[in-house]
Point group: C2
Chain length 427, copies 2
């Protein structure tokens, strides 16, 4: 196939995609052992060559400091020998996971005697477009390799030196293990042009997974003609029902909102049933104040603000759809469970919504009516996570309905094909 | 929710989409019995009101004749009382199928005691863009209703009167059964504008499924920002291996090519291993001649043409990627199984490829290496079909890798959501 392609006239991105496709064809039929050996070689190489990676990372850090980048972002960007070892350890965890490829999803013998099998196969070439954190480079490559996919990594320009060094280590290890090094490639070019080119590479790239800020995701979702899996935006809700254990409700609210505010499964809106508002809202406001959270309140929540030590400001319509990712929460009193559902349908990004209730009927109705990736009953929104769900790893959290919804593990990086076996069967 | 929407300013297509979304929210939690009752009401209504449908259809037929439409297409467009009864009978078959909604796809108790369940839920609003055949109107509506989805039907303008009558019957029946009639809607407007508007309705329409000609599908796939399931194009191959039962190979070749030439699972290319060419090609050419098939041959097949009664013409590069849908087949001799796979990778649309072989190793290698929705071993390509696969119904055949691949039944019209149940669990 390769001999027929106009290699000489290709852009660097298209060339990478063609090479990835050729590598994907080699990876697809490989048994688990061959892929696991390459993953172990990657983990070993990361440990042995940690200094090389940290050195490259130092250049990114220096550049970031010069540009006046915040310490929080610099911390996310920073690789130390310990962090590189932790990344290598994560790769060993992927080795321990079962290989999804070859799993028989459905199978039967048809009335005419034909044996029908639907089996999992790799997607082919997966493109990941992501920001900052260099650990994503290795995580994504390891998950794609395990599931038999070639990966095109388009990281942030701020992590360019780190990603280049990491991918060099990964490719050397994969090649050393006898697998095609082209299965893992950093997409050349630091500008937005390379993203644009990936989005047009239908037929070469099987799926694009954008991971990062809302504007990046929106661009890819609306402009790509390559199929996209939309990830990440989380405007999550905690609804406290008319009948609820108030201690539990406070615990779940504070854990959902404040255990880690910068993540997509953190709560951004509190909804309280009017029948429990007098009992719950004052306690909720005090607990949020203790956690350092500012409350963006509707008129009915505002009525409780004066007797409270909490910082409460009046909410605008924008607040209901905001993913703060900070120590802020929107809050409203609702007339009923159905009104809570209506609010969620209107404003939620469809990630995760929690209900706190002692009523079986309320729990059942809420889980039936809410249409989000995850509905939590008497549990924190923070559990929506591949690791927490026991998937062992996560390539992202899909907020779309097609192909994958919610945390995506290894099976979500596969497609299927049907095998029809007969003895000369005709129609 | 509806009260907040600017209904007055909406285009007819957007209004239909909003109404479909509201209907979808009502359908989602319905139990199977409620949906089956509505389907039975549809079947009854089609039988009772068949004359009304046939009368509307007569207007489409008259218009088609005036426009000089071919008899073959007029036949596809025609509805008789018998055909309407057959359509009603198909709806009763859908009643008999299990409801995919609510199926627990995965479930476990996590180490911390949380119960995790992944359950099937409807996609929401499904848009179907299709050509000619009015039976698709009822089939698609029935499958969407059964799976809890609202459907936007954008049929061909040549079937506009028929589709309008059918949808009127369907909506009356659904409304009479107490379900929202807006769950089934014909998209207004006969021009391409309505297709364009559907393709921009991200957030309102959950998926678009184009069914029809290659140019329609290509347009939707490249221009839609609503997620698309690509269907249908079938450049299917039959590969006759070095070791093959020649009688079986002839049977499978002729059945795959000529049992019905106008369908996507018909074979369009024959590949023959060089070691069996002397024995097989003359027989194949004679059998193809008897079936009235013209052969578009490479040089090595051409060498056998003179001793044959077949019509053989020299193939051009275009022939390898053509979906003839007619009594034509491309044919080539290949050096090896791997060369056959290479040819298929380069030219196939990824629909269905068959191998005829007595060799277990060859069958295994071919099924591993060929990356198409369906690989048939010693069976006709014509089996790639929802009905043949035992799915009971089919909304189309996906030729893409994301979400669904191959014949799509009711489960392919669903997404999933996770239900997380705890006792106040926090992280």
């Amino acid at each position: 196939m390769t001999s027929l392609l106009p290699y000489d006239n290709l852009s660097p991105v298209a060339r990478a995609a063609y090479q990835a496709r050729a590598a994907a064809e080699q990876l697809a039929p490989l048994p688990r052992a061959a892929k696991d050996d390459a993953l172990l070689a990657i983990a070993d190489a990361l440990e042995v060559r940690a200094a090389e990676v940290v050195e490259a990372n130092a250049k990114d850090i220096a550049k970031a400091r010069e540009a006046g980048t915040s310490e929080a972002i610099i911390d996310r960007l920073t690789l130390t020998p310990e962090r590189v070892r932790a990344i290598a350890s994560d790769v060993r965890d992927v080795v321990a996971l079962p290989d999804p490829v070859g799993e028989v999803v459905r199978g039967s013998t048809l009335p005419n005697g034909i044996d029908l099998r639907q089996v999992r196969v790799p997607l082919g070439v997966v493109g990941i477009i992501y920001e900052a954190r260099p650990n994503v480079t290795v995580d994504a490559a390891a998950l794609c390799l395990k599931s038999g996919n070639a990966v095109l990594l388009r990281g942030s320009s701020s992590a360019y030196e780190s990603n280049t060094a990491l991918v060099r280590v990964l490719r050397d290890a994969v090649g050393g293990a006898g697998l095609p090094a082209d299965a893992i490639q950093l997409v050349p070019g630091e500008s937005r042009d390379s993203v644009r080119e990936l989005m047009r590479a239908r037929g070469l790239v099987d799926v694009l997974i954008p991971r990062g800020g809302a504007s990046l995701i929106k661009t890819v979702v609306t402009e790509s003609i390559v199929p996209v899996i939309e990830t990440g935006t989380g405007n999550c809700h905690v609804y406290v029902d008319a009948q609820a254990d108030l201690d539990m409700a406070v615990d779940i609210l504070i854990n959902s909102k404040a255990q880690r505010v910068s993540v997509c499964n953190a709560a951004e809106t509190l909804l309280v049933h009017q029948d429990i508002a007098d009992a719950f809202v004052p306690r909720a406001l005090d607990a949020l104040a203790d956690a350092g959270v500012t409350v963006h309140a509707d008129q009915r929540i505002l009525a409780y603000a004066e007797q409270s030590k909490a910082t409460v400001v009046e909410a605008t319509a924008d607040d209901w759809e905001t993913e703060y990712l900070s120590y802020d929460i929107a809050a409203a009193v609702v007339d009923s469970l159905d009104k809570a559902v209506e609010h969620i349908r209107l404003w939620s990004s469809g990630h995760t919504e929690a209900i706190v209730t002692t009523s079986q009927q309320a729990a059942r109705r809420f889980t039936q009516l809410v249409d989000s990736t995850t509905v939590a009953v008497n549990a924190s929104t923070r559990f929506t996570d591949g690791g927490q769900f026991g998937f062992g790893a996560e390539i992202g959290i899909s907020t779309q309905k097609l192909h994958a919804r919610g945390p995506m593990g290894l099976p979500e990086l596969t497609s299927t094909k049907y095998i029809v076996t007969g003895d000369g069967h005709t129609r």
